[in-house]
Amino acid sequence: MLDQAALPDPVATPLGFFAPFGEDVEDRVALCSAKADAIADRLDAAMAASGASVLSLDVFDTLLLRSDRSEAGRFWDMAEAASAEGLGAGPEDVLLARVQATALCYRTAEKSGLYGEAHIRDIYRQMGVLLARDDAPSVLARVEREVETANLHRNDALAELITRCAARGQRVMLLTDMYLGAEDVARLVTALCGGDLPIAALRSSADLHHSKRSGTAFSPAAEALGVATQEIFHIGDNVESDVAAARAVGCHALHFPILRAERRRRSADLERTIVALQKRGIRTDGWAKV
């Protein structure tokens, strides 16, 4: 038998992109701000090792880092704000309209692989029908921008990486699976990162019916830039969409994960939101997410 006492102690190490920055990292916004250069260096080195010439970034929870508010919580914030804007409906009505309209638009959307990609303008229009208010779409769009802006933060490390790539003459593309169209996403990027970020292209699944998660977004995006997928180095937070699907079509990909602590805080927010909504008689099964 082994003499266990004489053996060296086992060493436990967490894995993932942020592991070198310590086990107790709890806030990506703060970390990416405090260690922007160090993180950009690591990403830079990984991209250089891949030999890729085009940087592709996911937008939400990658270039724009979300707050700890859950998606369900943000939808409620938007519903409250839209109701206060004089939509003539209570926040519960607006929220339920959002839930029903979203479900319907995804259900009937053109399929890209297994997935349908809905567009926010269809969701707003359907909300207008449900709320019997023709002016709903414009109010909702404005409110959505305000709530999103309040809950998003610029990722300083990736902003630095973009700047470095541009300085080297490498193009940068933003690729998002989102119900917001490219125009709306561009407004958010500009609002949070400034208008001078050198972005060569911004593509959203809402406009194109191609998505990362279905694996159909990368090749057309590469084609539009006139490069092979092997020339693309993609970074994103979703393992399936941003890593597995990207690698499956030949892109280089790096996982930029949401921290466990962040997930826990969002889960806690989701739980609080669900309790609050259920108290108001709103069913949350089937749609309320982190």
């Binding site: 266990q4 436990a12 967490p14 409906a89």
Partner: protein, 852 residues
């Protein structure tokens, strides 16, 4: 449909007052229960009609008959809530029978399949009469056709004059149907069918017959059965529910238990649409349309529908989404209680209700049957045949007897898995719910597969601890990096040097948090719901009884080749295990670690795994676990226990295969240690149990061998039948099942046994008490062939004298098919392939190659 009939509820002496009360109850049920539920449906329907029109270019088609009343309600809803009524909608007069006719030339297969199904209750003559009418098919012709025994398809393809008439009728009706449809759609790209719903048969037929149109459906419910065609279900939207069975968490799904509440509600006075015709104006007309449109229900003729209308009528623009939805939720809860647990007063509302049959059948089917009307049937028969079984139970029995029957019909109750397997909320707390422990050493190919197995779990609140037990840590890092799994959920533990499997488990568990633990070895896999279902099990009521849970397991045979891991076969593993008892565990371990999720506090109480055991550490742990807590069984095959039991088992074998001799050695050590410690702790009963386990196991093995022998004797020798012939038959059956499941051939045949007896070294046999070869031969016949195997294991050195076995044993092929044996023979560890087959190959299920 139901009219102002005298109330027949519970005897003919019901007074006018009782009838009036039931009439009022129907009205109130419509107004206060169905009305609020359907208001939400109408709100959603209104939204979908506009959305489908705007984004899909879909024409709303209200499928008559039910569509007529749906449309009427929708108009009322729009008026009362100040919404724009979709004026572009149209009535689409059809039925499933008519739609089948319309599909005839374009999708003949689907059309005939539906007709076959719908007329499965009748014979061909009845079909011909339903299709062509009594005026064209005489009673004599119908009877003759019935006697022919032809199916609908055979009849339609035949040269019978009525078959020719039927084809002409179908061709003519299809042409008219096509024209009718074209006029409705006006070359639009899509249509939205609006109907009560369920399986979407008409939509499926139309999608097949008219593929140029994009067919969508907006239904009250979408619900199917095991054989339902779900090809187009993505485009069938159930606005109230989409479910095949009742889910108590979604009370609106109670409609599946009593669909006729909805169907009878929307069934207007008027005939079913069975045919179309060309009018004098040259246009297509639907003769039944006028009768359907004349439907004018009022409180007297149809109190339930009128009640619904009155609820909608009372709405105002101030009723927002939230209030409509809240009222609907409350109403569906009451509805579910009514449908699942009706009392006798409530079922009285539906006693006079009958549903008219379609597909040309002229009969009404009562929703509920009165016992006096069907004295030849038992209550159980009436319940199983009733359109509303729970309601029929209330007709048959007083409330306290009806309740358990109704609960069973609804599939709910304390003992059902529905209660047990309620999905847990995530996260369960600050720490992850589960720590998944994977021990790995130099096997990146397996590790990648294990990583994906864990990554694909539907339950996400876990940490996956990979413990590298002394191999190169960089290889493990690389395997993790190459696998598209969420690395932030992974904790890598470097054991630096190999400490053994159990020490690796302990180190990994010590480094992690998680209320539940499970060992997922690097070569095993799970189905996607393993964690979801096992965590739910222990989080639910069962968690108060059990400290751990084992799922059913699939044994996977595989082999490793240069290009990867290849599955060779699979079978249920230890499927005989129905419960985990301490006695059974004392005989031996009978479940795999991959199938076992357990509470960490129990692991802590036991002091973890015993690190002194290179093998069977899990058995020792399970034995000790059962002294503290019970282990439940989840009867779903969610774990896959992989074995490299074919091909190169020396290089890639798992410990059960490759370390067989070690298992045997440590069986005694683990047992002795356990007994010693138990005695020291004064737990004499536990010590006794484990000691007895060995003997029980051995005895059971002997009985099984005898059964196998009996089976072999019956099947192979043809002449040697053991004296206990009953046992032989029972054994034969058991062996047959086991062999089929395992793909295992029988054990030693009599030809092997006799050959052995003739060739065994007399001296060696005598040394071990078997006497002369003749006596040995007799003993082989009297006991079991495995006795020969066992005896010869004792004289293993004499295996050399066996050479390559009996003349019919194909030594070369055996070595070729078993490279591990070939290597052992080449190394001199085993004298021959036959000696291996004899000593263990046959017990492992390896095939005995026979020279022809």
């Amino acid at each position: 449909m139901d009219g102002p009939k005298s109330d027949p509820a519970f005897g003919s002496s019901a007074s006018d007052k009782a009838a009036s009360d039931h009439h009022e109850a129907r009205y109130l049920f419509g107004r206060d229960t169905l009305g609020p539920g359907l208001a939400l449906y109408l709100l959603r329907l209104h939204g979908i009609i506009f959305h489908a029109s705007e984004t899909l270019g879909a024409k709303p088609l209200f499928v008559a008959r039910a569509g007529i009343r749906i449309r009427r309600l929708l108009r009322l809803f729009c008026e009362r809530t100040s919404r724009a009524y979709p004026e572009d909608g149209a009535d689409f007069f059809t039925s499933r029978f008519m739609t089948a006719k319309g599909a005839w030339p374009h999708a003949q297969g689907a059309c005939v399949a539906l007709l076959e199904k719908e007329f499965s209750w009748a014979r061909t003559g009845a079909f011909a009469t339903a299709l062509l009418g009594q005026e064209r098919v005489t009673a004599a012709e119908e009877e003759k056709l019935n006697d022919s025994g032809d199916s609908v398809a055979q009849f339609l393809a035949s040269g019978h004059k009525l078959a020719a008439a039927a084809r002409r009728h179908l061709d003519e009706q299809a042409e008219l149907f096509g024209e009718h449809l074209q006029r409705l759609l006006a070359d639009g790209p899509a249509a939205l069918l609006i109907d009560t719903g369920w399986q979407g048969t008409a939509q499926t037929l139309l999608s097949a017959a008219y593929p140029d149109t994009s067919w969508w459906g907006a239904y009250i419910g979408r619900s199917g059965f095991a054989g339902s065609d779900r090809t187009h279900w993505e485009r069938m939207m159930g606005l109230v529910f989409e479910a095949d069975s009742f889910d108590p968490a979604r009370p609106e799904t109670a409609i599946v238990l009593h669909r006729h509440v909805i169907e009878s509600l929307f069934e207007p006075q008027g005939p079913s649409v069975e045919r179309m015709e060309r009018g004098a104006d040259g246009l297509v007309h639907v003769p039944a349309a006028q009768g359907i449109l004349a439907d004018a229900p009022d409180r007297q003729s149809d109190p339930i529908f009128t009640g619904v209308c009155d609820h909608i009528e009372a709405l105002t623009p101030e009723f927002g989404l939230a209030s409509i939805e809240a009222a609907a939720q409350d109403a569906w809860r009451r509805f579910a209680h009514f449908v699942v647990y009706p009392d006798q007063d409530e079922v009285a509302m539906y006693l006079p209700v009958a549903r008219s049959a379609d597909f040309g059948r002229e009969l009404d089917v009562p929703v509920l049957k009165l016992p006096d009307d069907t004295p030849d049937q038992t209550p159980d028969q009436r319940i199983s045949e009733a359109l509303w079984p729970a309601g029929q139970a209330a007709v048959e029995y007083p409330e306290e007897l009806a309740r358990p029957v109704q609960r069973r019909i609804a599939g709910i109750g304390r003992q059902t898995e529905m209660g047990i397997l309620a999905k847990p909320k995530e996260p369960l707390g600050e720490e992850p719910a589960v720590a998944v422990i994977t021990r790995t050493l130099d096997r990146p190919m397996f590790l990648r597969r294990a990583l994906m197995s864990v990554h694909r779990q539907s339950f996400r609140d876990f940490v996956h601890v990979i413990v590298c037990d002394g191999g190169p840590i960089d290889d493990v890092r690389q395997a993790i990096a190459e696998t598209p799994c969420d690395q932030s959920k992974i904790l890598l533990v470097d054991n630096v040097v190999n400490r053994g499997m159990e020490a690796a488990s302990n180190a990994a568990i010590a480094a992690s948090r998680g209320r539940y633990l499970v060992i997922h070895d690097d070569d095993d896999t799970w189905e996607a719901d393993f964690l979801a279902d096992t965590v739910s099990y222990l989080e639910g009521p069962k968690g108060r009884v059990y400290g751990g849970v084992v799922t059913h397991t699939t044994y996977v045979s595989e082999k490793v080749e240069a290009d990867g891991i290849h599955m060779v076969g699979q079978r249920p593993y230890q499927e005989w295990v129905e419960r985990i008892s301490l006695m059974e565990m004392a005989i031996g371990n009978h479940f795999a670690p991959i199938a076992f999720l357990f509470r960490r506090d129990l692991y802590d109480a036991l002091g973890g795994y015993n690190e002194n055991y290179p093998v069977l550490g899990d058995w020792d742990f399970n034995l000790r676990f059962l002294l503290h807590a019970n282990i439940g069984i989840l009867p779903r095959a969610l774990a896959n226990y992989h074995h490299r039991d074919v091909g190169d088992t020396l290089s890639f074998g798992n410990s059960v295969i490759a370390d067989r001799s070690k298992h045997s050695e440590y069986d005694a050590i683990v047992r002795n240690d356990f007994v010693r410690l138990a005695l020291q702790a004064g737990e004499t009963s536990a010590a006794q149990l484990v000691l007895q386990g060995q003997y029980f196991g051995e005895l059971r093995g002997r009985v099984r061998n005898a059964e196998r022998y009996a089976y072999d004797g019956l099947n192979q020798s043809g002449g040697i039948v053991p004296p206990t012939s009953q046992l032989a038959q029972a054994g034969g059956k058991a062996q047959s099942n086991t062999a089929a499941a395992a793909g295992i051939t029988s054990g030693l045949s009599m030809s092997d046994a006799e050959w052995l007896a003739a060739h065994s070294a007399k001296g060696a046999l005598e040394l071990h008490g078997f006497g002369a070869a003749g006596r040995f031969k007799k003993r082989l016949k009297d006991e079991a062939p495995n006795a020969a195997s066992k005896a010869l294991k004792l004289v293993l050195p004499n295996y050399a004298s066996l050479g390559s076995g009996p003349p019919d044993f194909d030594e070369a092929r055996y070595l070729e098919e078993n490279p591990d044996v070939k290597m052992a023979v080449e190394r001199g560890d085993m004298p021959s392939g036959y000696a291996h087959w004899l000593s263990s190959g046959h017990a492992e299920g390896r095939l005995r190659p026979t020279l022809v």
